[in-house]
């Protein structure tokens, strides 16, 4: 991966009548990066991907690929290739013909064309299946053919539109790992569209989280998860306990907030933060709260009562009511110490690390 920008999205808006599918989005994707566009249905992520591919045109703004402006360049002349959500495997062609579809236009020598097709099929571990008809493929195989067909073109950017959503859970997890390895070995910039936060967290170098046509946050998976810029991002990426906080002080890069439960906390000053009427939201992920057993104590702890318990096999979710807190806290605890045996109604103490408390915009 280098720092050279491969894709630049500059102030791009896409409107359909009064509806803005994408609203003034700006973004830079680096060369060799595995980049994900993450968000719920209708957030504009597919629209953005299709504009990069050339299937849609920005109403305003510009898209550059490898430094070149893409306006007016149709999809068939862009250095991008796409893995479609439906895979779009040509049903009247076999695997080889599908993979070789784009090469036909390059008028390569027969042997060279065959070599490249075989190489691409080997890359996706489909060697030997070249003669299979499109109708005889399993879901996972279709996905691999779509991947090989795009990779064989040696694009500068590979675009993936929810490529794993049609697969079952187990295959999906396996393909996540394989896709990541594949990207690292070919070194091509991958742009993935997904609504599955785990997929984005597991595969990406960086993630852009999108809501309602706007890009809310662009960061590494860890940052996006641990330091969400607002409640919406925090919520979309997993469970989060929210506490309303009053801002009592500000320092270089930090703010000091006062909450009814955790007391005075010094927290990293959130980006995109405009302290309005002196309040903010303080959040902590359920797994960052730890149950204190028996006589164990911690420097930072709260105590309360278990009001509900949900068993999930390897973990247990506890809902804990704590005096002074406006809402009960969710706690995720692994089951190796017997969290699944804590009865509802039992008193409980929870430890937390103040660094795990994140301040964010409402």
């Amino acid at each position: 991966m280098s720092d050279r920008p491969m894709i630049e999205v500059r102030d791009v808006t896409r409107s359909y009548g009064n509806f803005k599918a994408l609203d003034n989005a700006s973004l830079t994707i680096r060369e060799g990066e595995f980049f994900s566009l993450l968000g719920p249905s209708g957030c504009g992520k597919t629209t953005l991907l299709r504009m990069i591919a050339g299937f849609d045109t920005p109403t305003n703004g510009a898209i550059l690929i490898d430094g070149q402006k893409m306006a007016g360049i149709p999809a068939n002349r862009r250095p991008t290739n796409m893995v479609f959500q439906s895979y779009a495997i040509f049903p009247h062609l076999n695997v080889e013909q599908n993979v070789g579809y784009g090469l036909k236009r390059l008028r390569l020598e027969k042997a060279e064309e065959k070599r490249r097709v075989d190489e691409a099929l080997a890359q996706v571990e489909l060697g030997g299946l070249g003669r299979r008809g499109a109708g005889e493929l399993s879901g996972g195989q279709r996905q691999r053919v779509a991947l090989a067909r795009a990779l064989v073109m040696r694009p500068k950017v590979l675009l993936l539109d929810e490529p794993l959503s049609a697969l079952d859970k187990k295959l999906r997890e396996q393909m996540q790992v394989e896709l990541r390895h594949l990207q690292q070995s070919v070194g091509i910039t991958f742009v993935l569209v997904t609504h599955d936060q785990y997929e984005a967290l597991a595969m990406s170098d960086r993630i852009a989280v999108m809501f309602g046509g706007r890009i809310a946050q662009v960061d590494t998976p860890k940052q996006v998860y641990q330091r969400p810029v607002n409640r919406q991002v925090a919520d979309f990426l997993g469970g989060m306990n929210f506490v309303r906080a009053r801002i009592v002080g500000e320092a270089e890069g930090h703010i000091v907030v006062d909450t009814p439960g955790f007391g005075q906390v010094r927290a990293e000053r959130p980006r995109q933060f405009a302290p309005s009427n002196g309040s903010a939201t303080l959040g902590i992920r359920p797994e960052r709260l730890r149950v204190l057993w028996d006589e164990e104590t911690a420097k930072h702890q709260v105590s309360g009562t278990v009001v509900d318990r949900h068993y999930f096999g390897e973990i247990t979710h506890l809902v804990v009511e704590i005096p002074g807190f406006e809402a009960p806290l969710s706690v995720t605890e692994t089951n190796n110490f017997g969290a699944d045996d804590i009865p509802v109604g039992a008193p409980i103490r929870l430890a937390y690390d103040p660094d795990a408390l994140v301040a964010m915009a409402d």
Binding site: F55, F84, F90, P91
Partner: protein
């Protein structure tokens, strides 16, 4: 009680369906049967087997002329209605636009209009335009009658067509024309062929519109209509009818097989006109 009822229902239905098919086919199958009967009238019992009615057809210039007219009209109507059908079906299955329902409703209307209404209204307008009646006017009318069927066949072929296939082709560097040639055409070709065959069959067999719109050149059904006045020519008409039945059957069977192939390619399902 429920089990008894259900068993009765299950036993009753297949038997009824078989009877129904007998009702559908029985009368039609009488034509081939009596076309080889060695008797001037279609009476029971059979008088013996003969090919002579078919042999009579062979030298009948009038009949051959009419058949040739029907072939020409059928080909022209099939091509025109398929070309127009491709435009209409593609527009309806792929695009959203204001007035789509009303427009496709008008195109499909001949399906539910009495043919005589279509025929006389066309007659009035064509004469008002100063066109003299000929095989051309018959063709114009037949296209109108065939269009709804072409539309249905083509729409079933286009319906499941995944738009991303064309996008994938463009994405892989193919031009718009190349995409049409390498992806779109091979996938919808069976549906287009099916539409050609179905429209040809309909036009070839169509009587009322031809009856009103033809000039001095008769089509085959008009020729048959004329022959029906003479009882003595009935056996020959039966022989001719048998040939037409077999022809229609073959064309429609091929059309259905092709259409299924088109549907299988675009991965939706249904029968002809379902």
């Amino acid at each position: 009680m429920n089990a008894v009822l259900r068993r009765a229902a299950i036993n009753w239905l297949p038997a009824y369906a078989a009877l129904y098919i007998l009702f559908l086919y029985g009368p039609v199958l009488l034509l081939p049967l009596f076309s080889v009967n060695d008797s001037a009238t279609p009476t029971l019992p059979f008088a013996g087997f003969t090919w002579k009615w078919y042999e009579q057809l062979w030298g009948n210039r009038e009949m051959i002329n009419a058949a040739w007219n029907s072939v020409r009209v059928g080909l022209a109507a099939a091509i025109l209605s398929t070309v127009l059908g491709i435009c209409g079906a593609r527009a309806v299955t792929r695009y959203r636009f204001a007035g789509k329902r009303a427009m496709s409703g008008l195109i499909m209307a001949p399906l539910v209009l009495p043919e005589i209404i279509v025929a006389i209204s066309l007659l009035l307008v064509l004469l008002a335009f100063g066109m003299s009646l000929s095989l051309v006017t018959v063709t114009l009318g037949h296209v109108l009658i065939c269009l709804p069927y072409s539309m249905v066949v083509l729409m079933s072929g286009f319906e499941g067509f995944d738009r991303s296939l064309e996008e994938a082709s463009a994405d892989l560097g193919e031009t718009a024309f190349g995409t049409f040639r390498r992806v779109t055409l091979p996938m919808v070709a069976p549906a287009i062929l099916a539409s050609l065959l179905v429209s040809f069959t309909i036009s070839f067999d169509e009587f009322i519109v031809a009856f009103f719109l033809s000039g001095t050149d008769p089509t085959l059904p008009i020729y048959i209509w004329g022959q029906l006045r003479f009882a003595s020519r009935l056996p020959a008409v039966l022989a001719l009818g048998t040939i037409m039945l077999i022809g229609s059957f073959l064309l429609v069977t091929i059309a259905e097989l092709l259409r299924r192939r088109a549907v299988a390619r675009t991965k939706t399902d249904g029968g002809l006109f379902v």
